[in-house]
Point group: C2
Chain length 212, copies 2
């Protein structure tokens, strides 16, 4: 139906626009031009206009952009006005930390945390129940779940991903240090912390040349 395919680079920039616009909005600023936004965000005004025009004309010649309107429109594009029910697979330190994180205001609501350790059965993290892995399929069939967050040890992730996709989960947020092999209609977003650290370490050793 859609004629153009929006590039990944554009999508990656949208949350950043959203973040800056929120701040600008909180500062009580009503309108902003691509030029002003450009200097705040350290990207070219041209790129801002190009990016936004992928989704339609949000601005007005001679005026610029209405901050509130643009903020809301980008929010719509990103889908943060809808509720996205999540489950966290793996109740270790990381799963725990994510359960405590405030993702709700952007629509991401954690419904349950799954683990294998019997001692966690019946416990709650910030009011979110910890369930046992053998209840996974049953839970998904009863409740609406959109996103599964994978915070399991590397060795257990592949199997968990398979179980999840088999019962119809279409979105995985993967924290394991491993690329997942899933059906092509399943969307995977990776957070590879070790990869991120290694990039940092590369840049540390090569930062002298970077300045050129």
């Amino acid at each position: 139906m859609e004629e153009r395919q929006i590039s990944k680079a554009v999508i990656k920039r949208l949350p950043r626009y959203y973040r800056y616009l929120e701040e600008i909005l909180n500062n009580g600023i009503e309108r902003i031009s691509s030029g002003e936004l450009s200097s705040k965000m350290q990207v070219t005004a041209s790129q801002i206009r190009q990016d936004l025009n992928n989704f339609g004309g949000f601005g007005q010649q001679g005026y610029g952009y209405n901050v509130k309107y643009l903020y809301d429109e980008i929010g719509k594009i990103l889908g943060v006005h809808q509720i996205h029910p999540m489950i966290i697979i793996g109740g270790g330190n990381f799963g725990h930390a994510l359960a405590n994180y405030d993702f709700e205001k952007n629509g991401f609501v954690t419904k349950a945390i799954f683990d294998v350790r019997p001692e966690l059965e019946g416990t709650f993290i910030r009011g979110i129940p910890v369930l046992m892995m053998n209840q996974l399929e049953d839970f998904i069939s009863r409740e609406t779940v959109e996103i599964a967050v994978l915070t399991l040890p590397k060795s257990q992730v592949a199997e968990a991903a398979q179980r999840l996709t088999r019962c119809g989960i279409k979105a995985l947020w993967n924290f394991a240090h491993l690329d997942l092999d899933v059906p092509e209609d399943v969307v995977v977003e990776n957070v590879h912390l070790v990869d991120s650290l290694m990039q940092l370490s590369y840049r540390i050793s090569n930062s002298e040349e970077e300045q050129i």
Copy 2:
């Protein structure tokens, strides 16, 4: 001194090569061609050869690449054979989880965790001492610290980053939902979890078209 500047896209792919090569090495495979690696990693063989040749000729015509050698060389490029002393700023759920994470085998060693809550003073996480924020400058002047990991609430990050860069920290791994404003010789690597989730949410709503 270096004549060419390696692009960010290449650096971003290196940890992934490293990850796959480790697995291949663990499977006892001795040599691999760009073609074989290409089909495993779902990137073009041409890109693999181009990427590697940014750093020198690691292969041999008619043979391919020695897995162990290539793995080690990429490790050297990424700097994972050196020790990278880290401190974690913010002993909340996230700082806690990161302190428990096994980054050591790639050279990233956490020396201390800093927090403001007096009740944490004198405690340890996996043997790592939790210190008070007012000891920060003193600690950095006594110990060698390369990377500071920022897991503080948004409202406190900017100040912490300023204190850290003032006492000479040149690398920040930032988990706060905020872009840092630091001197240009300071390297910042961001892990913006909310941005990542928003990209996932965008892709969920638009995944029907993606298949084309």
